[in-house]
Amino acid sequence: MQNQFIEHADAAENFIKDEPRTDWHDETLWFVRQKRDLAVNKIPEWEELREFASKIKDHSLSNLDNYLLEFERNAQNNGIQVHWALDAKEHNSIILDIIKKNNVSKIVKSKSMLTEECHLNEFLQENKIEIVDTDLGEWIVQLRKETPSHIVLPAIHLKKEDVGETFHQNLGTQKGLTDPKELTEIARDYLREKFLSAELAITGVNFAIAETGGFVVCTNEGNADMGVHLADIHIACMGFEKIIPKLNHLSVFLRLLARSATGQPITTYSSHFHKPRVGQQMHIIIVDNGRSNQLARPDFRNSLKCIRCAACFNTCPVYRRSGGHSYHNAVAGPIGSILAPNINMRENADLPFASTLCGSCSNVCPVKIDIHQQLWKWRQVLMEEGHGKSSKKIGMQLLNLIFTKPKIYRLVGWIGRMIMKKLPFSISNSLNPWYKQREMPEVPKNSFREWYLKNKK
């Protein structure tokens, strides 16, 4: 894993060194956010849909064990084999077992953030098993030995020149290709061979329906369907929170998902799997991996309502200017920042601070997760649990002293203004972190209090 131990702020500092590229990243994602707005504004009942989606998910979480049992029963009746995995390790070993039992070696995978979370690719590699990611963006980052930087647009951190170079180095294509159409065509040809020879196909799950024992997988490229309908074995991996009670609830979620994600009215393919085809094995792995802990935290449990649309990424001023890899977690962005500390509080203690708390994430969330409030609440938890940096603690204590004692506040303000006026170089230098990438503000003639006392009559 790259960037595993680089904190978000440091990784972000590195990311923004290339200013034109940072601007491009920022604008590209904002463009996706604007497409979302255009699509959303065409649906007068949008807010009603969000409210229903939120309530259906609230209900599902409050009855989750029963719905999982109902799902399992119906799925088994449909001929699907159901597995349960307590953690990432068990998830990976279930897959390895199926691979070994069937003696297969050719494996394709469509996009699944859960398998990223479980580091399935690395695990299979260690076991000398080749697995090919077939979503174009995921395949590109796989060739580069990187991880996705965005859950919907995995290669959004790359420019077309980078993709051309990656193909040149890994596939021996001509150097200097930059036409997205040509590059996509190369991928289509190459991956078609992989699809045709695949013996086993792995997919994620967008929604699992308790009432019918089926599940839905959404893609635009058609890669999930190409994989599973050609291979003799289909393994679908789902976090247990993907459960929805009824078939007709899909109407609400499918109306919200693609519009929130990319501004499309629906993804090109929304495939409903209920039974394996004749001669095919269909497996589903239901994974916990820390989710039941999150369910126990009243302040954070509703992060489990997430449908992985990434609207919160695209709207986030911090994500857009720091890139997905700065978050050193399978799911980046605002939602990743409230999910990650649950999995490992120490390693991810920096993430809830990677936010301005502007609240835009919560406003675009199709299932109404209070993301920015949870970010703020995580900060309280992390500081209390001793995961805050000492510089932050000392800083807060100092500010606490200043802001609770008016006399000290006035004195410090006066000193500050004097120093900035008389000795600007003592502030405007590289030793002052606030001066990095910023101009210091102009010094006011007097404080507000002084102005007010003079003018109140």
């Binding site: 849909l49 174009l136 289509r188 635009n220 058609g222 109407s251």
Partner: protein, 203 residues
């Protein structure tokens, strides 16, 4: 205790107290022409619609457009276009070189330009994905307004008594990707083009 029991126990202990399940009721009174909305949306996402009187018109239109294609799989008997022989005996990967597939759609959805395709209408599940070009035929009377109507339709047809459908898919336009710099490219892994023929009953 195995993992299944551990997970279910943990959820049982940690879940919040029961919250009521809302009944989804979306009020919509939009008075629109479903066929033109469907066409407009599908065209906007890279597909095409052609409104026809009957299957004969579909046949001549396809011959005009795809006359030079020789690998055609036609799964709609009413369209009298020659079919690849003994398709049923083939393994899915043997469909790899198909230029054009002609299949039936059960219904269309006006709000998003999608068509529901059911696997009992196609000889292989992979067919609408692996073909280079795809044609789906629907009846105009089977265009519903939105996804709520779509699932009501499914609950009384493919999912009647929650039994029948083993695989079904909403297909909305040709396969596409924007994974390279957000540039839209049509024809990612699935069909490069989609035409939906809408058979109009009343003229």
């Amino acid at each position: 205790m195995n993992s299944r029991e551990k997970i279910l126990n943990a959820i049982g202990q940690n879940k919040p107290s029961l919250v009521a399940l809302p009944e989804v009721k979306i009020a919509y009174a939009e008075n629109i022409n479903l066929t033109s909305r469907f066409s407009e949306i599908l065209t906007g996402i890279g597909g095409n619609t052609i409104i026809v009187k009957n299957y004969l018109e579909i046949k001549s239109n396809i011959q005009e457009k795809f006359g030079t294609y020789h690998r055609i799989v036609n799964q709609v008997d009413e369209v009298e276009i020659k079919n690849e022989d003994s398709l049923e005996l083939k393994k899915p990967y043997q469909l790899e070189d198909i230029d054009l597939a002609i299949i039936k759609g059960r219904f269309g959805v006006a709000e998003n330009g999608s068509v529901w395709v059911e696997d009992s209408d196609i000889s292989h599940r992979v067919l609408p994905f692996i073909c280079q070009h795809l044609i789906i035929i629907i009846n105009e009377e089977n265009i519903v307004s939105n996804m709520h109507d779509a699932y009501r339709f499914l609950e009384t047809t493919s999912f009647k008594n929650l039994q029948n459908s083993s695989f079904g898919v909403f297909i909305a336009g040709p396969s596409k990707t924007a994974d390279i710099e957000q540039s839209l490219v049509i024809g990612a892994h699935g069909a490069r083009s989609l035409i939906v023929y809408i058979i109009k009953n009343k003229f």
